[in-house]
Structure formats: C-alpha cells, structure tokens
C-alpha cells in the first residue's frame, strides 16, 4: 500500500491554450485512478497556480457565453469539491493586483467544504518538494 503525490503546477494562461484546463482534468482524474492500481494504492493530486496561471482562478469566467465551452473556473470548483489541495501564489496575485475577492476560493455553492489556499511561493516550493512527481502545465 502506498500513496504517490502528484503536484500539478499550472502556469499557463486560461483559454489561450488547453494546457491549464488539461492540468485540472488530469488532476481530477486522480479520483478514478484506483481502477488501474492494487488495493490500497493511491495517487493523490494537488494543484498549484503560479505566474500567469493564477488568472485561471478568476471568478465570473464566461467561457460558455463566448466559446460555448465549460469554464476553467468550473473545473477549479470541482477540484475543491473533491477536496483537492489547491494553492495559489500570493506574489503572483499581487502582481496582477488581484485579491481573494477576485478569485475562486471555495465551492460552497455546490456543497464543497475545502477552500483554496493563497500562499507564498515558498509554500508552493514545499508542495513540490513533497511531491513524488511534478507536472508543469
């Protein structure tokens, strides 16, 4: 029995490419990975947003209105609903003049109990140090 930790590091802009969306859908896929593993083995994913990637966390995204696709905000909300550890780089939020009021911090409206964490880059570095594998998207 073992748990392997995957740290998804999202640094891509939302919507410009598919990368940040794929980071989230892959991280969420950790919920069903057991079908391929032995009993008791787990893969645990966390998601950290750094650099331009913090823009994926903006509230009020209009992906459906403008592109006819689900929003990255929706996927981010699902990751919180699934109790995934979510870290958002404070220094990078500051660079864009963003605060916790501007970004998705919880999934309470869909029954989620886990909140996102706005942390220093040092904390995200610790998350990467603790991970078995790092996946930069």
């Amino acid at each position: 029995m073992a748990t392997k930790k995957l740290a998804f590091i999202v640094r891509s802009l939302p919507y410009k490419t598919e990368a940040s969306r794929l980071a989230l859908t892959h991280a969420i896929a950790s919920q069903t990975v057991e079908i391929y593993l032995n009993d008791g083995d787990l893969v645990e994913a966390s998601v950290s947003y750094v650099g331009d990637g913090v823009l994926n966390c903006l509230k009020g995204q209009q992906g459906m209105k403008h592109y006819g696709i689900t929003t990255i905000e929706g996927h981010a909300k699902n990751s919180l609903l699934l109790d995934m550890r979510v870290l958002i780089c404070k220094e990078d939020l500051d660079k864009f003049g963003l605060t916790e009021d501007n970004i998705l911090m919880d999934a309470e409206d869909i029954g989620g109990e886990t909140k996102a964490n706005v942390v220093s880059y040092g904390e995200i570095q610790k998350e990467m140090d603790a991970a078995t594998h790092i996946l930069v998207c």
């Binding site: 490419t17 794929l22 079908i35 391929y36 996946l135």
Partner: protein, 120 residues
C-alpha cells in the same frame, strides 16, 4: 532497469516538443528502460494513422512503430481529446491504446521518473 512515464500536450508538427518527447523515449528504450507515453490535447494527433512524410515536417509515425515493436514502449492517447478532434478508434495506428486520463496517472504510480511536457 527503470520505467519512465512521459506525458505531453504538445501538438504534432506544430511544435517540436512532441519530437523531443519521442527522442527521449527512444533513448530510454535503447538503454533498456520501459516507457509509457501519454498524449493529451493536441498531442493526440500523433495517434492518427495515415501520416505522410514531408521534408518540411517531422514524421514520428516510423519511430513510434519501431518503439512499439521493442515491447518496452506503450503509447496511449486520451480518448476524449481524440474524439473531440474528430477521430475515432478505427483511425488509430496499430499498437496505440486509447484511455481516459486516469491511465496516465496510474502509470505515474510505479514510474521511476515522470516527464510531463505540458505546453502547447
């Protein structure tokens, strides 16, 4: 020998990141390692049969078939990403697998190293 899991989102032809990933897989297999190769997003275009070789574009179909023939190389495309791009199981070259994203995460479980190329 070890196991390397490579995941990539980078597109066929449109970027050389996919070429780099395949070259890395070749080098690892040549050294006796096993490689799982996962494709999501635009990278799934590599899992489309009927690619033609032109001198202006990279042609990865041949090295991939050689890698598959070694028995130490598994290549898997994200099924949803492929379907979204309009090609289906019957469009896949021989030896390719199509699965959902949890296949990739499961592959990382016993991988000695994971190299994820997440850009486009």
């Amino acid at each position: 020998m070890g196991k390397l899991t490579i995941g990539t989102f980078s597109s066929l032809v449109g970027s050389l990141s996919l070429d780099f990933s395949v070259k890395l897989a070749e080098a690892a297999v040549k050294k006796g390692h096993k490689v799982d190769f996962w494709m999501s997003g635009n990278a799934t275009m590599l899992a489309k049969k009927g690619q033609k070789a032109f001198k202006d574009y990279s042609f990865l179909a041949k090295p991939i078939q050689e890698l598959i023939a070694t028995g130490n190389f598994q290549i898997c495309a994200c099924e949803a990403c492929a379907e979204a791009r309009g090609y289906h199981k019957e469009d896949c070259p021989d030896g390719f697998i199509r699965k959902s994203m949890d296949w990739y995460l499961a592959s990382t479980f016993d991988a000695d190293r994971v190299l994820h190329i997440g850009g486009d």
